[in-house]
């Protein structure tokens, strides 16, 4: 190989390392390695002492033949992800984006900032606020309103409608990301399309339906996939607000796996359960990818619109 070709190859490798190296390293350390470790652990008998005695299929045998809580946890997860996503993370986020872009810019920015506040506060603070809101006695914020304004008896959301509570708590905080993405997408729609529509006599709803929504197709698809995967594995607020209870009512699958691993010290079994979650995540991602035709999004545009 001539010298200049060798130098060229070296430079290419150097560039590869320089530009892709950090990303690959992160990908390996935080994504690939944990999955590999999880995969190996799932086939061991690692318990509280972290010692591996043997490689075994026992965890899977237990999971499929004896674990009576598994299906329940999957059911709760399904309802939780579907409703949080459908009501809040996409629909409500979209409404927020539409409304805050329809009002004068400063007012819109103010409301977006308000919706972002929960994101800025630490999770524990956010969860504590919710606990105060739904406190079952008359001191809780919700009950103060229910009792004093509506003259109704105190309600106990945490015990009587725990699933609704975790959907609300996750939804209110989860809507902010969609709101930002959708807002920026709406902002990037060429202004003249709106003017032209108005000239043609389109009303506010017609503009939303025929101009804004079609332009939001890809952001909506992206948010749906991203948020379903994120909700599938998130249990932070659930753990803080209901602890997965009462009984197992709000124990989503990820929380169930966490509990098995870290609260009873059955690390191998927790790893096996997490593996199921990885499989569900991959299948859901591929299905949604296909369903939403995301491949088209990543293709180069056929014409440039300026």
């Amino acid at each position: 190989m001539p010298d200049h070709a060798r130098a060229q190859a070296r430079r290419e490798w150097a560039n590869f390392g320089l530009f892709l190296g950090p990303a690959l390293l992160l990908l390996f350390v935080f994504f690939v390695a944990p999955i590999v470790i999880d995969l190996v652990l799932a086939f061991t008998d690692m318990g509280r002492t972290l010692a591996v005695g043997k490689f075994t299929f026992e965890n899977f045998e237990r999971m499929f033949t004896r674990d009576t809580r598994l299906l329940g946890a999957l059911g709760v997860t399904f309802v939780f992800v579907l409703l949080t996503l459908g009501i809040f993370n996409v629909t409500f986020a979209l409404m927020l984006a539409l409304m805050t872009t329809a009002v004068p810019p400063r007012l819109g920015a103010f409301f977006r900032a308000v919706w972002l506040l929960p994101r800025m506060s630490p999770s524990v603070v956010y969860a504590l606020l919710w606990l105060w809101v739904v406190d079952p006695n008359e001191r809780g914020l919700l009950n103060q309103i229910v009792i004093n304004v509506f003259d109704m008896p105190a309600i106990d959301l945490r015990n009587n409608h725990p699933l609704l509570l975790i959907i609300l708590a996750n939804g209110f905080i989860g809507a902010s990301l969609g709101m930002l993405i959708f807002t920026s997408a709406i902002r990037s729609i060429p202004e003249h399309l709106f003017h032209a529509a108005r000239v043609d006599g389109a009303g506010a709803f017609a503009i939303v339906r025929h101009i804004t929504l079609p332009a939001l197709r890809w952001p909506i698809s992206y948010m749906t996939i991203h948020q379903s995967l994120s909700l599938l594995v998130s249990f932070e607020y659930i753990l803080l607000i209901t602890g997965g209870g009462p009984f197992y009512d709000t124990t989503v699958f990820s929380l169930y796996a966490y509990r098995r691993a870290f609260e009873t010290g059955e690390y191998a079994y927790g790893a096996a359960l997490s593996l199921i979650l990885v499989v569900i995540g991959v299948v859901a991602a591929l299905a949604l990818w296909r369903l939403m035709d995301m491949k088209q999004l990543l293709q180069p545009p056929r014409i440039e619109v300026h």
Partner: protein
């Protein structure tokens, strides 16, 4: 010039001497792991005190060696969580030399090879351990050997608020007789729920009975009244009886229906429960242990025994049926020495020093835990400040320990889930009994015997 050299030489010499002396003076570091526990800060503190005593002895002997105690007080929410954290620390070779653990974890640490078998050390040093109350050793024994030194014991009880009982129309004579009636098997667990339910129905209190909000040893005491003995000594295994569980959960459901147990109890924080039980007096009955006397006395500004007994009545956990035996539970917290420690002997002697009457009494009287040495019971401080301990000791007649099984933590969690299921209306009595039996079988497999 010469004097200058001489002077610098002297300084250099002095520095050299200082350096070599400090190199010769050796600090032996002993790491102590203890859960930061409001109801027993001196468990760790007494090891530090033992270190000070030892250092004074070393200084008196002219030795340059000193013991330095490095204390790691963890913020685990309970002893089960703490034990799991500690097992992980040992697994990655970050274990302490001495650790504080709830006695029922002795088996798990012994089995894992992390707790040192102290049998030899204890037998060879009777001057350190000869006065320890003999039945307490049972709590730290595993497969015939002692792996720990108990630091305290306690008495658990239902606390009945006398003022609220008076409001319910009970006379002082009736109130005074409840405890004896429980012990005689006349006043049953059902009677207790009737009484508590009455208080709620009549608006005397908001809650009937408040118990701990999380899994823990208290429930074993409740369950024993219904014939549930969690350990089969002969087989050295955990056990559960289908009939016993059914009886117990039938009672829990009865109490829930009577509103004696609240659907929110297991969702409350300890702080909420303490507020409700003490400061606000919102509960007729509070279920915990004698160390709570300190909080209660503070909340109601009670001075001494007489004052306290006017306000509060203690009872054992009543039997499930008339004529049955009441139950109590003693739950010692113990010191253990790491089998992996480089300074095992030293650590064991520190434990011995920390178990002596003077230091142990400081822990006992400040937190209302029963002392560990026979002799302590005669100490003026115990008699004067520990009146509650002396008064509660007769209740220990009905006490048992938790089984020293490595899986007892899981057993307790499952039972707790069953109780939570019934209290929150998720499970019927039968469903809860089936749930507990099934889950025990699934989770503990060969480690539990399921009986009819």
């Amino acid at each position: 010039m010469n004097w200058k050299f001489g002077f610098s030489g002297m300084i250099a010499g002095a520095l050299f001497c200082a350096a070599t002396t400090s190199a010769l003076a050796e600090d032996v570091v002993i790491k102590v792991w203890s859960r930061a526990d409001r109801s027993g800060p001196l468990r760790a503190g007494n090891i530090v005190a033992a270190g000070d005593t030892l250092n004074k002895m070393l200084a008196a002997a002219g030795s340059d060696k000193r013991v330095k105690i490095e204390l790691n007080e963890t913020n685990a929410k309970g002893y089960d969580d703490d034990a799991l954290d500690l097992l992980k620390a040992f697994a990655v070779d970050k274990g302490p030399d001495i650790f504080v653990l709830a006695h029922e974890w002795t088996g798990a640490f012994a089995e894992a090879g992390y707790a040192l078998n102290l049998e030899d050390h204890i037998t060879k040093n009777p001057e350190l351990y000869g006065d320890i109350i003999v039945p307490l050793w049972q709590s730290v024994s595993y497969k015939g050997a002692r792996y720990g030194v108990p630091q305290d014991s306690e008495v658990r009880m239902y606390f009945l608020n006398n003022d609220k009982l008076r409001k319910l129309g009970k006379t002082d004579k009736e109130i005074g007789a409840i405890s004896a009636r429980v012990d005689a098997g006349e006043f049953t667990a059902y009677d207790l729920c009737d009484l508590a339910g009455q208080a709620v129905a009549k608006g005397v209190t908001k809650f009937g009975i408040l118990h701990r909000p999380n899994a823990g040893p208290d429930f074993q005491m409740m369950m024993e009244g219904f014939g549930n003995v969690p350990y089969d000594k002969a087989e050295a295994k955990l056990q559960a009886s289908k009939a016993g569980m059914k009886d117990f959960f039938t009672w829990v459901k009865y109490c829930v229906d009577k509103k004696a147990f609240s659907s929110t109890n297991t969702a409350m924080s300890w702080d909420n429960i303490e507020q409700a039980a003490f400061a606000k007096e919102e509960a007729l009955v509070f279920f915990h242990g004698v160390w709570r006397v300190t909080d209660q006395s503070k909340a109601w500004n009670l001075k001494g025994k007489e004052d306290y007994q006017k306000k509060i009545t203690w009872i054992n956990a009543p039997a499930g049926k008339k004529g049955g035996k009441p139950s109590n539970l003693s739950h010692p917290i113990a010191y253990a020495v790491s089998a992996k420690s480089k300074n095992k002997d030293l650590a064991a002697f520190l434990v011995g020093l920390a178990s002596q009457p003077y230091v142990n009494t400081r822990h006992a009287v400040t937190t209302n835990h029963t002392p560990i040495n026979y002799g302590q019971q005669a100490m003026p401080e115990v008699i004067e400040k520990g009146w509650a301990l002396v008064a509660a000791t007769p209740m220990l007649k009905y006490a048992s320990f938790m089984p020293n099984s490595p899986k007892i933590g899981q057993y307790n969690s499952i039972v707790f889930k069953g109780i939570q299921g019934v209290e929150t209306g998720r499970l019927s009595a039968d469903a809860a009994a089936t749930f507990v039996i099934d889950e025990l079988g699934n989770e503990l497999g060969k480690d539990v015997i399921i009986r009819n």
